[in-house]
């Protein structure tokens, strides 16, 4: 071994060992756990552990609440991604306008919600969404709207949480889009302007093609983020009302750490993993496609 090699291993072996212990090994074990009936009995004594093959998955697929959780999570992603990405893009475009002053100040303040704890801000928003005394219903009342039981009604619980999540996360992609927008070729923009292209025409034919890849990547990563929603329903709605905000992770947490069905919960984790893997493959495919263009 050369001197350089020895140093390299000295520098990287400790963290690689930790990664192996807390990430690689448990991920491999997750597969194994998902084909066992690991439960509170096995937690007490390993002798109670049995191999059940695909039993957990079969059980899971015949559990209505699991499908409900998949449906709710899909709804979160389907509604949340366009709303969140749309908000980020709209604000980024606005900030990109040459006439806007004090840009660094706005950027920092608009980004601020992103660095706060989800739990703490979920508590704040639960308070704002309160039917009787919440600030949001008070604002609605000034325009004559009737109070809405935001978190207590199964039809408004997901939209309410999405408003909170969008507020919390839009700043991140706003920063990413601002950087992408500053790379839009200005000579092309000028040429389009001289050719008489309007605001929409320039956005559609100059800006959008330039930031398209960034936009798509952000969208795919946002889907992955929405698939992992947990703290919001845990704090704001406890998965309710009428299980309308029980997400995949919320279901997994309850199965695993409330009922101690760790085998079953591992099967849920595995399903989540497959969904995110499929998403990443889609993302890589997009990446390749755009490099060919």
């Amino acid at each position: 071994m050369t001197r350089q090699e020895r140093a390299a291993w000295l520098f990287s072996a400790p963290v690689l060992a930790i990664i192996a212990l807390v990430f690689v090994l448990p991920t491999a074990l997750a597969m194994a756990l998902s084909v066992t009936d690991y439960s509170i009995y096995a937690l007490a004594d390993w002798a109670n552990l049995r191999f059940v093959g695909l039993g957990n998955f079969i059980d899971l697929f015949s559990t209505p609440l699991f499908w409900r959780a998949i449906g709710n999570t899909a709804l979160f992603a389907l509604l949340g991604v366009p709303i969140a990405i749309g908000a980020s893009l709209a604000v980024a475009l606005l900030l990109n306008d040459a006439t806007v002053r004090w840009k660094p100040l706005w950027r920092v303040l608009l980004f601020a919600p992103d660095v706060t704890s989800i739990v703490a801000t979920a508590v704040v928003w639960r308070f704002l969404f309160n039917e009787r005394s919440g600030l949001i219903n008070r604002a609605l009342a000034t325009v004559g709207a009737a109070p809405v039981d935001w978190l207590g009604n199964p039809h408004t619980s997901i939209p309410a949480i999405l408003i909170f999540v969008t507020w919390k996360i839009f700043g991140y992609n706003m920063i990413v889009f601002t950087a992408a927008l500053s790379a839009v070729p200005q000579d092309l923009m000028e040429a389009a302007r001289l050719d008489g292209a309007g605001h929409w025409g320039r956005f559609r034919h100059v800006t959008l093609p330039a930031i398209g890849p960034t936009l798509l990547l952000a969208a795919v990563m946002s889907v992955a983020g929405f698939l992992q929603i947990f703290a919001e329903p845990y704090v704001m709605t406890l998965g309710g009302p009428a299980q309308s905000t029980t997400t995949i992770l919320y279901f997994m947490f309850d199965e695993g750490f409330k009922w101690w069905n760790l085998g079953q919960a591992s099967a849920v984790a595995f399903v989540l993993f497959l969904m995110i893997l499929a998403l990443t493959m889609f993302q890589t495919w997009i990446g390749r496609r755009y490099e060919w263009l």
Partner: protein, 283 residues
């Protein structure tokens, strides 16, 4: 130019309004936390305290004797736990990942490219998949319900290694080779030549690690059973699920949880926001 003016006014007003709307929930959180007990639950919702009161913070933070038994919300211990865990996670995290990131960028060793590929590929796996077996492993190792149990998983900084590697690649090889020819040891090269050049990146990474640890919720919730070890998010979630009616008290708890990192972010925003863009570059 005269034609541009209304447009400029419109754009600036719009940005200011949007920012005000974004900051409003945080501002209102602070205002309500100073309202006298119960004031915020009487419609019409007050926007301003009738008088500024410290009673919520007093109730939340000070241990009191009720019917002969000590009672408190365990927010002060949670604050200490959060500070200790975030600080230790950050320090150990840097100590482990910065040299590794440098090694992956500049030192030649067998298996480097393959390991790098594995690290990048493993970013696909969501951390939650590992959590259930990890809990069982930690239970066997006696790490459940301890600081170490919370901190150890946060040290597996794959993203951090790739982040440091990306930044280190920009350092010219000639500088390092010249030092080698002068007979400097590898450790000396890292400490005296590479580390000073990486300082901004290390500061950024430290911020990411500290904030990440401070705001982390699911894993501490799983691994901590003892209330005395709760971090702030876990403690606040526990109070929130029990005392949902006490608006002012909950806002005070939210202020204690969010303000330290918000102030840290505001003080160091330049490092944070530029790092964000460095991180979005693929590994």
């Amino acid at each position: 130019m005269a034609l541009m003016k209304p447009r400029a006014i419109l754009a600036n007003t719009l940005v200011a309004l949007l920012t005000a709307l974004t900051i409003a929930p945080l501002l209102y959180m602070v205002i309500v936390s100073f309202m006298p007990r119960g004031e915020s639950s009487n419609p019409p919702t007050p926007l301003w305290p009738s008088h500024w009161s410290m009673e919520n913070y007093h109730e939340l933070l000070v241990r009191r004797l009720i019917d002969g038994a000590w009672f408190d919300y365990r927010i002060v211990p949670a604050l200490f736990n959060s500070i200790a865990i975030a600080a230790i996670s950050t320090l150990l995290g840097l100590l482990l990942t910065v040299p590794a990131g440098y090694a992956f960028a500049k030192l030649r060793f067998r298996g480097r490219e393959r390991l790098l590929k594995i690290l990048i590929a493993s970013l696909v796996v969501p951390g939650q998949v590992a959590m259930l077996p990890l809990f069982l492993i930690f239970k066997q190792l006696g790490l459940v319900n301890s600081y170490a149990g919370v901190i150890l998983p946060s040290l597996a900084g794959i993203f951090a290694i790739l982040f440091v590697r990306q930044a280190t690649l920009a350092i010219p090889d000639e500088m390092i080779d010249a030092a080698r020819i002068d007979g400097a040891s590898e450790a000396r090269i890292f400490v005296t030549i590479v580390l000073p050049l990486l300082t901004p990146i290390v500061v950024t990474l430290a911020l990411f690690m500290f904030l990440g640890s401070w705001n982390d919720f699911l894993w501490p919730l799983i691994v901590l059973a003892d209330q005395h070890l709760y971090t702030l998010p876990v403690a606040v979630a526990a109070i929130a699920r029990e005392h949902s009616a006490d608006g002012e008290l909950m806002m005070a708890a939210a202020v204690v949880t969010t303000m330290p990192v918000l102030l840290l972010f505001l003080a160091m925003q330049r490092y944070y926001l530029t790092g964000l863009l460095g991180g979005s570059v693929k590994g």
